[in-house]
């Protein structure tokens, strides 16, 4: 069983939801990424999604694009992201880390080299935004063979055929994009999420995390009523942008802890 799977199993046994924050590696500075990851764990993160910066992040909104541009300006590369995970692992062996990014940096490194380097760095999962199931069966298999969970997105517009496609090639969890649009968009339709998530859980046989549009403790709590996990990205990047360096990790921990507390008010199994 993968570390991601056992994390969800442990949480489900105690009726808790997973909190999955996202930051971009190298933002605001490469040397601050490991301290920020530790700050996320201190704030209650169960899994960390670590963004691999890309020059053309088509599926992301302006906030995460800015983070990506800052990280690239700081010289962040896929190799250095893997080094960062390795460094994080010297102090934390448990918290699963999922790399999230775009296909081209991985193809430039070479899929086989990437998969073995990611395993060696103790990465637990990969989410490649522009690798839909039909274009990456061999990549997903190579990842699984190396013990990495290939994680896929589903959207409000996804058909049941898509559910079956991601169930076939994916593992770990499903990332449900709760909005049409890009990361950091404004409005979230709770009723829509409440209708769709049970359908997806029933069909894919994996935990479902919900992301895009979750901005505070209250929206996280409401999503927690119906989902196995809550993903928060743009809102944390904004916290990073407005925090002075000496308050950076403390502010991020404080923000996440608030979300954690709200999420822990949700009781019992996912409906």
């Amino acid at each position: 069983m993968s570390k991601i799977q056992s994390t969800f199993q442990r949480l489900q046994a105690t009726g808790r939801r997973a909190l999955i924050p996202f930051i971009t590696a190298g933002d605001p500075a490469p040397e601050l990424t490991v301290p920020l990851m530790n700050a996320l764990v201190e704030g209650g993160a169960d899994i960390i999604e670590l963004g691999v910066p890309f020059s053309d992040p088509m599926a992301d909104g302006p906030t995460i694009q800015r983070a990506s541009e800052r990280a690239l300006a700081n010289g962040m590369t896929l190799r250095r992201v893997l080094d960062t995970v390795r460094e994080f692992r010297t102090g934390n062996a448990e918290t699963p880390v999922v790399l999230m990014g775009y296909a081209n940096p991985i193809e430039a490194m070479g899929v086989e080299r990437f998969v073995s380097a990611a395993r060696e760095a103790q990465v637990d999962g990969v989410l490649i935004v522009d690798y839909p199931p039909e274009e990456c069966e061999s990549f997903a298999q190579a990842a699984k063979d190396a013990g990495l969970d290939p994680i896929f997105l589903l959207a409000p517009t996804s058909t049941e055929q898509r559910f079956r496609d991601v169930a076939r090639v994916g593992s770990g969890y499903i990332y449900y994009v709760s909005l049409k649009g890009v990361t950091g968009a404004a409005t979230l339709d709770f009723d829509e999420v409440a209708t769709r998530i049970p359908q997806i859980r029933a069909q894919v046989g994996m935990p479902v995390g919900v992301g895009f549009g979750i901005r505070d403790a209250e929206s996280a709590r409401r999503i927690g009523e119906v989902a196995d996990a809550v993903v928060i990205g743009s809102r944390i990047i904004e916290e990073i942008e407005r925090s002075p360096r000496d308050r950076l990790t403390a502010n991020v921990t404080a923000f996440l802890r608030e979300v954690r507390t709200a999420l822990d008010q949700v009781e019992g199994a996912v409906r």
């Binding site: 541009e69 940096p105 839909p132 997105l153």
Partner: protein, 403 residues
């Protein structure tokens, strides 16, 4: 419109040209592309759609565009005869409009009242705004702020036609960033919005659909060249940024034996300078903007900034079918610098009384390089994909002239 086929059969049903093409997009776009593919397949097989498209091309665009024998220029070069396919004479001044009409017709059939587009030089934006006005559709055009500066006249044209032009400030502020932004708009507004991509790139079915709509260029040449010269040309030459004008003229010639197909990429300040936009010549295969193709990228897979005097060629990728034609050897790809393109621009103005677009000037420059090496009975057919009125400021600036 004729849909050329057999024995060259690409893309495959899932949109691949060998290892290239495909659908590399986030899940949020998959249903939109499925919907588009189904709608386009229905149009492609519908005689009424094809008849309407042909009618629009004839009466609104002014097709067929003529072929012109550039006799004085050919004589001066002293070798092969150069013929020009006059896409610059189309309504809106370039080949782009062929595709815009086709896609706007698909949008109407899908019941989408709003169209969006990305643009580099502004030609595709103007063509989209034109067609949107013609069909009464809302139109938003994304354009890199650097290109907005370089192509002020086209920005004003789009506004006159009722379009909203959104300057894009992210990244290198050019075509690729405009494309990113248009994709973001599409994914957010897909319920009422049709994204008119201007070139043979992007996720399937765009490379196929845009090629189909541009193939009229080559289909006309197949008929016109024998009428004018008694035979098909020895070489067909076209500039390649994203590659739609080249694909339009190449595709009907793929199965015609002994016709060399030559795509001309922008070498900018010279290949050795690193400041160019020649993805097929100097790039490596990768994934960007929904397809796998040759890309200009660094060792870490980040897309690098491109340079060309011509905004329409200033793009780090290229249509996936060109990647396939390069690998399969059916087409050759060469490069031409800013300086060579400028010289061809001036030569055509002075010798033939035609002001070509700077994009097309790259194809002309290669013809001027090739012609003197060939005997006088050889025939080069160059796609003169657009007129150069939009480039007055750029060319004047290079000559140290201010308006």
């Amino acid at each position: 419109m004729q849909m050329a086929d057999a024995p060259y059969r690409f893309p495959d049903p899932s949109g691949h040209f060998g290892p290239y093409g495909g659908v590399f997009v986030a899940e949020t776009l998959i249903p939109a592309l499925d919907e588009l593919r189904a709608a386009y397949e229905a149009c492609r097989d519908d005689p009424a759609f094809i008849a309407e498209f042909d009618y629009e091309l004839k009466h609104y665009v002014g097709r067929p565009s003529p072929i012109y024998h550039a006799r004085r220029w050919s004589d001066l070069l002293g070798g092969a005869q150069i013929y020009l396919k006059r896409e610059d004479l189309n309504h809106t001044g370039a080949h782009k409009v062929n595709n815009c009409i086709g896609q706007a017709m698909v949008a109407r059939r899908m019941g989408k009242p709003r169209v969006i587009a990305e643009t580099g030089a502004g030609q595709h934006g103007v063509a989209t705004a034109t067609v949107a006005a013609r069909y009464g559709m809302e139109c938003v055009v994304y354009m890199g702020s650097e290109d907005v500066r370089r192509q002020a006249a086209n920005v004003y044209r789009m506004k006159l036609l009722g379009a909203t032009v959104v300057p894009v400030e992210s990244g290198s502020k050019t075509l690729k960033d405009a494309l990113n932004e248009a994709m973001r708009d599409w994914v957010t507004n897909v319920h009422n919005t049709f994204y008119i991509i201007g070139t043979v790139a992007g996720p399937h079915p765009y490379p196929l659909m845009v090629r189909d709509f541009q193939t009229v260029i080559g289909q006309e040449c197949l008929l016109q060249m024998p009428e004018m010269t008694g035979r098909q040309p020895d070489c067909v030459i076209a500039c390649v940024g994203g590659g739609s004008n080249a694909m339009g003229i190449f595709h009907p010639y793929i199965d015609v034996p002994d016709v060399r197909l030559i795509g001309v990429e922008a070498a900018g300040e010279g290949m050795e300078s690193g400041r160019h936009a020649a993805s097929l010549t100097a790039g490596k295969p990768g994934v960007l903007h929904g397809n796998r193709t040759y890309l200009l990228q660094d060792d870490d897979g980040q897309i690098i900034e491109t340079h060309s005097i011509s905004a329409g060629l200033d793009y780090p990728g290229v249509g996936p079918e060109h990647a396939w034609l390069k690998d399969s050897g059916r087409a050759e790809y060469v490069t031409v610098t800013d300086q060579e393109a400028l010289k061809a621009f001036h030569d055509l103005c002075r010798l033939e009384g035609i002001i070509p677009a700077l994009e097309s000037s790259h194809a002309l420059a290669y013809a001027a390089r090739l012609a003197p090496t060939l005997p006088k009975d050889k025939i080069l057919l160059v796609n003169l994909s657009g007129r150069g009125d939009k480039d007055m400021h750029t060319v004047a600036e290079k000559s140290g002239i201010q308006f």
